[in-house]
Symmetry: C2
Subunit: 269 residues, 2 copies
């Protein structure tokens, strides 16, 4: 399916969107995004039955998956006991009557910038869309405790038909991060690359009532001034109160390294 197979005038009403997330089927960010998207497309929601944040691109192989039909989202929804990647895989293979035109994951509560994307269930949902051959978008807002989803939702509503019409570069998803501020305070949109976030104090060690140590994963993010002012990065855009749009590719081969390595391995084989 190439972008040129479609004409906008055919009617965006016909666009079919598979919507997922990692905060669970009862997350507010999912509901807010659905309310916008249902105005322009046929939307089916297939989302985890509980929070599956930080599951990375995990899939469930040791227990069987269940898909419970939900009354939410006009009854076009399933809750799955799996990860976002499971949801997309199961939706496309078993639940949907027709293939989606677009896979959207979000709106995630909390940003997915820089290396965050490796841990992110939200990005993973979109990635599974790409792996299965569909254009895909991941959307996050930068606030965890009291997020403002409004701009992220309306922006995605404008973006979806454009992606449907024009397509995205092959094997590439769009990772969108939106400042969690009032829509009128958003300072624009930037096309970005992944920044380099650093986390410190990753673990907090505690002792249980029986005297044994345990560790809570925590970690404060430290975006240095260098990073916040770095050219073109998602981290920098967010710090300027702008929306960041980062194209993420599926092919992780480091092609430049291939040449270097050929010398490296001369005497190994």
């Amino acid at each position: 399916m190439s972008a040129s197979d479609f004409c906008f005038s055919v009617g965006v009403r016909e666009m079919k969107i598979l919507l997922t997330n990692d905060d669970s089927i009862q997350a507010k960010g999912l509901a807010v995004l659905w309310s916008e998207l249902k105005e322009i497309a046929e939307v089916v929601v297939v989302a985890p039955d509980r929070e599956r944040s930080a599951t990375g691109h995990g899939i469930t192989m040791d227990i069987p998956l269940r898909a419970e039909k939900s009354y939410l989202f006009d009854g076009k929804a399933w809750a799955v006991n799996g990860t976002p990647a499971d949801c997309v895989k199961l939706a496309v293979n078993c639940l949907l009557e027709e293939e989606p035109d677009l896979v959207i994951a979000g709106i995630n509560r909390g940003s997915n910038l820089g290396v965050d994307i490796f841990y992110s269930g939200t990005v993973s949902g979109a990635l599974e869309g790409i792996i299965l051959g569909f254009p895909a978008i991941a959307v996050s807002v930068t606030e965890y405790l009291n997020p403002d989803y409004r701009y992220a939702a309306s922006f995605t509503r404008k973006l979806a038909p454009k992606v449907f019409e024009k397509g995205i570069c092959k094997d590439t998803l769009l990772n969108i991060n939106v400042p969690s501020i009032a829509p009128e305070e958003i300072q624009g949109v930037e096309i970005t690359r992944l920044g380099r976030r650093k986390y410190i104090n990753s673990f907090e060690e505690r002792v249980d009532p029986r005297g044994k140590a345990y560790y809570w994963l925590g970690g404060d993010v430290v975006d240095s001034i260098d990073e916040s002012s770095a050219r073109d990065t998602d981290v920098a855009s967010i710090s300027k109160r702008k929306v960041s749009v980062t194209p993420i590719q599926v092919d992780l081969t480091n092609y430049r390294a291939m040449e270097t390595l050929r010398d490296f391995f001369d005497d190994l084989s």
Copy 2:
């Protein structure tokens, strides 16, 4: 720490390796690799307490992590109730007395080729090493049921000091796949890019004793003739009974797409 900070003559004996996997601390592939590596380095094992295959780059945030000291591996080992990424993070932040020179994950039972790497706990362990700033290697053999680890183990033993000495390209891990055949049948080593595997029949639908449907994730891999004969791919190397060495980068930005997208977004902000 750059490659040039080290001289091979300082003695590879001093090399410190953090070893992990996703098949659990009691997996044979881990033991076989450890037996080789302990001859050339100080090895500490920090591995999941149970199989954590296909966990992708998941990390554990909803329960605390525990690290049980193990008598295995000369007592320099911990079993962690988490994913391979958790293991590496916890090892570096809390368990190891000194930073490792190299993080190695494996030997995995079953190949990690093409898009497999997104789901792979093994690759994820190495990736976490890179994210934390250490050179890293992921090693897998292509057989699940009755794997031959011998060549993979001896190859990694030869490779580790070279990586220690020369370094790998920045922010890049080496993903090694080794045919599960007798060492003398291995046809050489190739530097490769990620191939494109396709899976079909992803789910098997069954009905439980109460009449409700459930789904087992399965999936047969289909490496088409095109793919097996494609130039430079990991899939093709394995089909020729060669070891594949694929450099994998952490930066997933699609830089070429950034330009295209700037036009795309002209009328969106």
